[in-house]
């Protein structure tokens, strides 16, 4: 996957470390009041063809902090609605010589297809139920920041595993970095087959929570199609929600957002010391700056 960031499977451990280290550097510089316009005048197309606020703003902010000029394109304004194929759109936009594409799309694997028609680096900002690598990297960064280590940590991912691109990317990355990854959720939201190698599925909520250094929660949506996966959000919270009394003091709670108070987690946890949810958002910008840096440097090196 030369020159792209499409999923976590093909990221090498050393690339992960390089990105994380750079993000740390950016964060400490920024927190000390420094400006970091390392790529002045470079342009990036943010193609968000599925609704997104947090991720889109985070990429835009990251680009601007580096002195880049992001251009945002949303599904409803684009030529997509005028019948052009996405491949043709990318071919057209490539001719404007941007430095990168950031793409969010509802279709799994779309970035692989697009990477075949352009040499411009593509950053997957979430494709269908496939992958969300920048989220996984910022989750890793946040964990490292708090725990100062990653290898050997016990991490649970709880929620709608089956339809979550975050679950897949997180699991791939955490396993790669030497964590013990456990998955849990209602049986209807768990995979029937091995999901990511070397992950295991917990037998109960108790098992999913016990002795975990980190718990990643996933957003639950009450989908009514085909009867839904669970009867109600209340039922979900009762049997799969994280409640304060279940938590150890040092367990970190992560959530890619947007979270539902009283569904995936009780409100008092959102506001507690266990929660890293808002730090994740803060770190997301630095990690995405590091991703831009990593891709643009590789591009100029080649």
């Amino acid at each position: 996957m030369n020159g792209n960031l499409i999923d976590c499977r093909f990221l090498t451990k050393s690339a992960v470390k390089t990105i994380v280290k750079k993000a740390e550097e950016y964060k400490s510089k920024f927190m000390n009041g420094a400006l970091i316009p390392e790529f002045p005048g470079k342009t990036v197309f943010n193609l968000f063809l599925e609704p997104s606020t947090r991720t889109r703003c985070s990429f835009e902010m990251a680009a601007k902090r580096l002195g880049m000029m992001p251009i945002n394109i949303y599904g409803s304004f684009s030529s997509i609605t005028k019948g052009e194929t996405l491949e043709d759109t990318i071919l057209n936009l490539s001719k404007m010589h941007p430095s990168a594409f950031v793409i969010r799309h509802q279709s799994s694997g779309i970035c692989y297809r697009l990477a075949e028609v352009t040499d411009i680096p593509i950053i997957n900002a979430g494709d269908g139920t496939h992958a969300h690598p920048s989220q996984a990297l910022l989750d890793l960064f946040t964990i490292l920041e708090k725990k100062r280590r990653i290898e050997g940590l016990n991490i649970s991912i709880i929620g709608d595993i089956l339809s979550s691109r975050v679950a897949r990317s997180d699991a791939e990355l955490f396993v790669k970095m030497g964590c013990n990854v456990t998955l849990f959720g209602p049986a209807t939201m768990l995979p029937d087959y091995p999901f990511v190698s070397n992950t295991k599925i917990a037998g109960s909520m108790e098992e999913a929570i016990a002795d975990k250094d980190v718990i990643v929660l996933l957003r639950i949506q009450l989908e009514r199609k085909s009867g839904g996966n669970i009867s109600s959000l209340g039922e979900y919270h009762r049997y799969f929600g994280i409640k304060k009394e279940l938590l150890k003091k040092k367990t970190l709670i992560l959530h890619p957002g947007p979270f539902n108070r009283g569904v995936e987690l009780s409100s008092d946890i959102v506001d507690s010391d266990n929660t890293e949810i808002f730090n994740q958002v803060e770190n997301g910008v630095f990690v995405r700056m590091a991703i831009f840096w990593w891709l643009l440097n590789r591009q100029s090196a080649s």
């Binding site: 209602p186 049986a187 209807t188 768990l190 029937d192 009514r224 085909s226 009867g227 839904g228 996966n229 669970i230 009867s231 109600s232 039922e235 009762r238 049997y239």
Partner: protein, 422 residues
Amino acid sequence: MDIVLKNGILLDPILKNKKRTDIAIKNGLIHSIGKTNSTQEVDCSGYFLFPSLFDLHTHLREPGFETSETMETGLAAAAHGGYGTVCAMPNSLPVNDSPVITKYIKYRAKEIDKCNVYPIGAISEGLSGKSLSDMYSLKDAGVIAYSDDGFPVENALLLKKAMKIAKSIDMPLFLHEEDKNLSENGVMRAGEIALRLGLTGIPSSAESSMIARDLEIVRETGARVHFCHISCARSIQLIREAKKAGLPVSCEVTPNHLALSDEDIRRYDANAKVNPPLPSKSDRELLVAALADGTIDLVATDHAPHTADMKAAAIEEAPFGISGIETALPLLYTKLVKPGIIDFYELLYRMSIAPAEIAGIEPDLIKKGKPANITVFDPTEKYAITEEFFMSKGKNSPLIGKSLEGAVKATIFKGKLSYGNL
């Protein structure tokens, strides 16, 4: 000592043996078995004594349909039938798809205190077949299984999801198997007799095709599935093969499907209209054989009381269902045990121990220290079934006017008479 049952013949449906003995009852429990003298004794000579029966499939109609049955009358009828436990199907109004209704049913059962009642929760919200019920909360409230009985779960994906959840919390699903398109508003089993009568027939494929579909889903999910009231040869064959393949499935048959056939509908009697319909004569014989060889695990009544008014409608309009919990044991005693087709121990096992196992409930046994839930049965009494025979509000039985042999004399529940006098 509260009471001593003297000189009865104690039948053990597990060991399949009998002995003449006394049973002493104290504080609702079996105090001792063996010769006992007491001033509070009743002569049980000539009577069979055995653990009270367990019905896996009962429609108690309360809440919501109290004109057809209340829990008072339904549990009185159960006791009259020799039952000490019933499992209440969720098609009440409101449907038992939430913990509130489950708890109400359990509360009423305790209040009436004539019979154990284990509620069954709905698979889908309101039996709509559209979205899942609160399966987790229902389990915590005390349901022993999930069922949309009365309706099939037509949406196979919804059923698969229900199976996955049920499997993950170790609960069984009880499935009413019927393809409603194939059954086409029919009123009786498709066949020569339906044709002769000019009635729309329900083909046996309406049942067997859904069983075939759902066995495929069980193969993928590994969920425990119990097929309700099976009624035809192909269903038996499919389940026999599935069991041989090691799938976690079981099934039941009703007393009516074991003892009656479509030939009993010749007078357009809506009281014989039941879903699934009464089998052909040859299928009936296969059902009996499948019960004997264990392919069919147990007998469940599908007690379905309806008012006389509802059943007085034309046969096409009348609701499905037979009021059957009071006739179950005497009917099978008359038709299967007396002629030597099935031995009585085996029948009792299939009406008490086997259903308790499927429900995951410890079965009643007549043993020292156990709750005194005992049925006293006179094997010699001959009588005609009349409307007055029924304690259920539902008198809808095709057996009215027929003669049976063998009668429940009394049922003892937690040491007290729930039916009869001794």
